[in-house]
């Protein structure tokens, strides 16, 4: 435990140091301009103090971001429009809805691809093509189209999340469902097993390790999808909306705290999947 902790702490401290250093460099021109207008000369410690405490810095410091996050998480009612929990929940609900839809779609497509040669040949190229289209170009169209057929709010964002998250699930599950070797398939044949029995008893259990890898990728992609979905829609709530309004008004601290909230959210969700994975692997005797 200690051995793995030391490098992690070292690297984290190194990053924080660099961050503070860059805050000085990037925010100093504003501080120097301000001092010049007031005919002041800044000592180095005064300069540092100013660059680390501006209201709209180019690069806010870790403690500014940390304080903003603390304030908007614990000091605001969670129903407040200024609460990070409120915005986080909006994004999280779209992420989870999109993730579930994407997982479902991905698994169904993988099942069809593995069991049907025609589907494999006809659908797989489209699946790959779907991921070459920049999601930023597609997201506004999805929102316009879905709102015109009556879907607003969570649903369009969930669809964008699904669009991004089904891909790793399909790719991983196709590989997983095909992972049984020739001997295992032959063995099933000697017992005259049906395709369905082969699926349930052999292919699905064998695809579990692939599924978990895919789920982690899919979850991260879902969150990106939900945030991207909040950008073009003029959404007023969600972490993406928080970032966008922050950039309109030059509220860099707000952007960074939304950014960190998203990163923490993603890490927790992926961590949760890892926990479930460890439990399932232990039950199934799969070495990690």
């Amino acid at each position: 435990m200690n051995k793995s902790l030391i490098p992690i702490v070292t690297i984290s401290m190194f990053i924080v140091l660099i961050w503070y250093a860059f805050s000085i460099v990037l925010n100093s021109s504003w501080a120097l301009d301000k001092a010049e207008r007031n005919n002041q000369k800044l000592s180095f410690s005064e300069l540092v103090h100013d660059t680390w405490s501006q209201k709209k810095p180019k690069l806010p410091t870790p403690h500014q971001v940390g304080y903003e996050m603390w304030k908007t998480t614990f000091d605001k009612k969670i129903t407040s429009k200024r609460s990070l929990v409120y915005h986080g929940w909006i994004t999280l609900s779209a992420t989870l809805a999109g993730f579930m839809l994407g997982t479902l779609l991905g698994v169904l497509l993988a099942l069809a691809i593995v069991h049907d040669k025609a589907t494999d040949l006809s659908v797989m190229p489209w699946i790959i093509t779907s991921q070459t289209i920049p999601i930023l170009a597609l997201a506004p169209m999805i929102i316009v189209v879905s709102s015109s057929i009556g879907f607003t709010g969570l649903m369009p964002k969930a669809i964008i999340s699904m669009y991004l998250s089904f891909f790793p699930i399909v790719v991983g599950m196709v590989k997983g469902l095909r992972s049984p070797d020739l001997l295992e398939i032959d063995q099933m044949k000697t017992w005259s097993a049906s395709q369905f029995q082969i699926l349930i008893k052999l292919r699905l259990p064998k695809s579990i390790p692939f599924l978990f890898t895919s789920l982690k990728l899919g979850m991260a992609a879902s969150l990106v999808g939900a945030i991207v979905g909040e950008l073009p829609s003029g959404a007023i709530a969600g972490l993406g909306a928080r970032m966008l309004s922050g950039s309109y008004y030059g509220q860099t601290i707000q952007i960074w705290s939304a950014l960190f909230a998203a990163a923490i959210l993603a890490a927790s969700l992926v961590g949760l999947i890892s926990l479930i994975q460890a439990f399932v692997f232990k039950r199934m005797m799969i070495a990690q």
């Binding site: 032959d186 063995q187 044949k189 017992w191 005797m285 799969i286």
Partner: protein, 260 residues
């Protein structure tokens, strides 16, 4: 023992089409296996011994000739669960216990839970692994895993056992032990066994009939009816009768194959 024919192959041909042209895996193969026989197929790699076994199991289809298992086609025989097949590697599922691994074909065949339990206990006793039902495959040695795979093939009580180099990956000491155990098993169950190997002592020690095969094209060179007694202690391998049969197998192998 009756003289009922269980497996009958007549002028069997099998040609694989590959990028390097056709490969004659089997050419004009004729063989009759009688009920209760222990038949070994021996020959160098590429002689078609495994392919022949796979044809019996309906895993490969012959391009010409006829073959019947219990008087019907291999496909019908497979569907009526006429044989158990033991592969080179045990192929146990790591997420299932030994007992559950043996249950796998029984589940697939829709055999009732209570009967599954009975049969698992019975076959584990046959391979002398009674205490391992709740263990997982990784807790067993390679030899034990292969015994489990034999138990699994016996679990649904097919009359024919097809074995494709089941002990090929095991060391000689384990192999001797398993050969002895397999003979015992054959005596107590009266199964018809087809056994692919490339070990001469193994073939001679186990078989009532030894089929010597040769490659390019895969064909039968010699069929040796063994007159060794039914009861065979491991020491039988030092007797003159044993050495004579081994010699004949060796000559057959040499005649059918140039080593240039």
């Amino acid at each position: 023992m009756t003289n009922e024919t269980v497996i009958s192959a007549k002028s069997l041909d099998l040609t694989f089409q590959t990028n390097d042209g056709p490969v004659h895996a089997l050419k004009d193969v004729n063989l009759n296996v009688t009920k209760g026989d222990f038949v070994s197929f021996i020959g160098p790699s590429g002689c078609g011994k495994t392919t022949f076994l796979r044809v019996m199991a309906d895993l490969d289809q012959p391009t010409d000739g006829t073959i019947t298992i219990n008087g019907v086609s291999p496909k019908a025989a497979r569907e009526s669960r006429a044989y158990g097949y033991v592969f080179q590697s045990a192929g146990l599922y790591p997420w299932r216990t030994i007992g559950k691994n043996i249950r796998l074909p029984l589940e697939i065949m829709g055999i009732s839970k209570s009967e599954q339990k009975e049969r698992v206990e019975k076959v584990l006793k046959l391979v002398e692994l009674e205490d391992f039902e709740k263990k997982f495959p990784w807790q067993l040695s390679g030899g034990m895993q292969q015994r489990v795979s034999i138990a699994r093939a016996l679990a649904f009580d097919a009359d024919i056992l097809l074995m494709d180099e089941p002990f090929g990956a095991l060391d000689e000491i384990v192999r001797d032990y398993l050969n002895e155990q397999l003979l015992k098993l054959w005596h107590s169950t009266k199964k018809t066994i087809c056994f692919v190997t490339h070990s001469i002592p193994e073939a001679v020690y186990l078989s009532t009939k030894i089929v010597v095969m040769s490659p390019r094209p895969g064909r039968i060179i010699d069929i040796i009816e063994s007159d060794l007694p039914d009861k065979r202690p491991l020491e039988i391998r030092d007797t003159k009768e044993f050495i004579d049969i081994a010699q004949r197998v060796r000559e057959g192998l040499r005649a059918g194959h140039s080593y240039e």
